[in-house]
């Protein structure tokens, strides 16, 4: 189960929902509870580290099985309000994480796909283990990423990288992500948390107000683009393309079900 500790000025959130920290209503509630605990503690929490206890990776993204079941269960005229309600909550979570007064570090190993990638991108820094792999597979579902990933990636790296990942849906390894400026360092398997904690301990040495004001100066929410992304996602998600793609995904026995 997802849990967190706060010790010596560092909050450590451990994502731990099998099979690979899919982001559905349960994970969303976990993230909301965590952020409610740390958001107002800028004086005694200097850094936030997010890692995964799941072997498969950091997060496989949105819970597609839950989404499929939800869309199948509810009449079509309820789909937009259901999707909008979830999207509003997840955007609040991602935006809050993005602009926490603390310095935030994601520790990524293995799969970091879709919504999981978007969660990592909401953090200030990403430490990638050698096994980390990043991907925006959403076009395969007839969608664009919906948790704010594209505006955040646009903010943090080159437009050509965004277009490559978005338009082809290909996944990239940790070294490529480092070259693209997405991650701050690549470390050996199993040593990501140590690297992140070392950086977090450094952060705890700084004055709280200076740290928070430096973040406000150096990092802005791409508010307009986030709203555009959400609107486009909702528009695309109303179509039959999504349900058909979700059905293919949940019934697939392919070793690589994320491929179309």
């Amino acid at each position: 189960m997802t849990h967190w500790t706060i010790d010596a000025g560092i909050a450590h959130l451990v994502l731990d929902r099998p099979p690979c920290n899919e982001i559905g209503t349960a994970m969303l509630a976990d993230l909301e509870r965590f952020l409610a605990d740390v958001a107002d503690r800028e004086d005694d929490v200097a850094a936030v580290v997010i890692s995964s206890a799941q072997r498969g990776g950091f997060s496989a993204g949105a819970d597609l099985r839950e989404l499929y079941e939800g869309l199948r269960r509810e009449p079509a005229d309820r789909h937009e309000s259901l999707l909008r309600s979830f999207l509003d909550r997840i955007h609040t979570v991602m935006d809050t994480l993005d602009m926490l007064p603390q310095t935030t570090i994601a520790v990524v190993h293995g799969i970091c796909f879709g919504g999981g990638f978007e969660l990592a991108l909401a953090c200030d820094l990403i430490v990638a283990e050698r096994s980390a792999r990043f991907c925006f597979p959403e076009l395969r579902l007839g969608l664009v990423p919906g948790f704010g990933g594209i505006p955040r990636l646009e903010r943090d790296t080159h437009a050509s990288v965004v277009r490559d990942l978005l338009f082809t849906g290909r996944s990239i390894n940790a070294k490529r992500a480092l070259d693209a400026g997405i991650v701050r360092e690549v470390v050996p398997r199993g040593s990501g948390l140590d690297a992140a904690m070392a950086a977090a301990r450094q952060v705890t040495k700084f004055d709280a107000e200076t740290r928070a004001r430096a973040k406000l100066f150096a990092k802005r929410l791409p508010v307009e683009r986030l709203a555009e992304e959400k609107a486009l996602f909702l528009e695309l998600a109303q179509r039959d393309v999504l349900v058909r793609a979700l059905e293919r995904f949940v019934t697939s026995d392919d070793i690589r079900p994320y491929l179309p």
Binding site: P19, C20, R55, G56, G57, G110, I111, R130, S131, A132, R133, C135, T168, G169, R170, S171, I172, N173, A174, K175, R176, D254, I255, R256, P257, Y258, L259
Partner: protein
């Protein structure tokens, strides 16, 4: 056996703790290694980093055997 497929077999055996002598070039990668979809992604990264290549997922999609994987790697080198 090509040099590349030999190295792929070495890498796969070592990474997933499988007896190297039980892996053949024409064996189905996923059955021979007994790996799941998460480990398949891991194998892609290991191969890319070891051979210093990038292999787009859509080029990997039809790949089932170690020999086919080696051929894709050679095309990208």
């Amino acid at each position: 056996m090509s040099d590349t497929v030999d190295k792929v077999l070495d890498l796969a055996a070592k990474h997933f703790g499988v007896d190297r002598s039980k892996l053949a070039p024409d064996a189905d990668i996923f059955e021979a290694l007994g790996i799941d979809s998460f480990q398949a992604v891991e194998l892609t990264s290991e191969v890319e980093l070891a051979f210093d290549v990038e292999i787009p997922d859509y080029e990997l999609q039809p790949v089932r055997t170690f020999a086919e994987l080696a051929a894709v790697i050679d095309k990208r080198r």
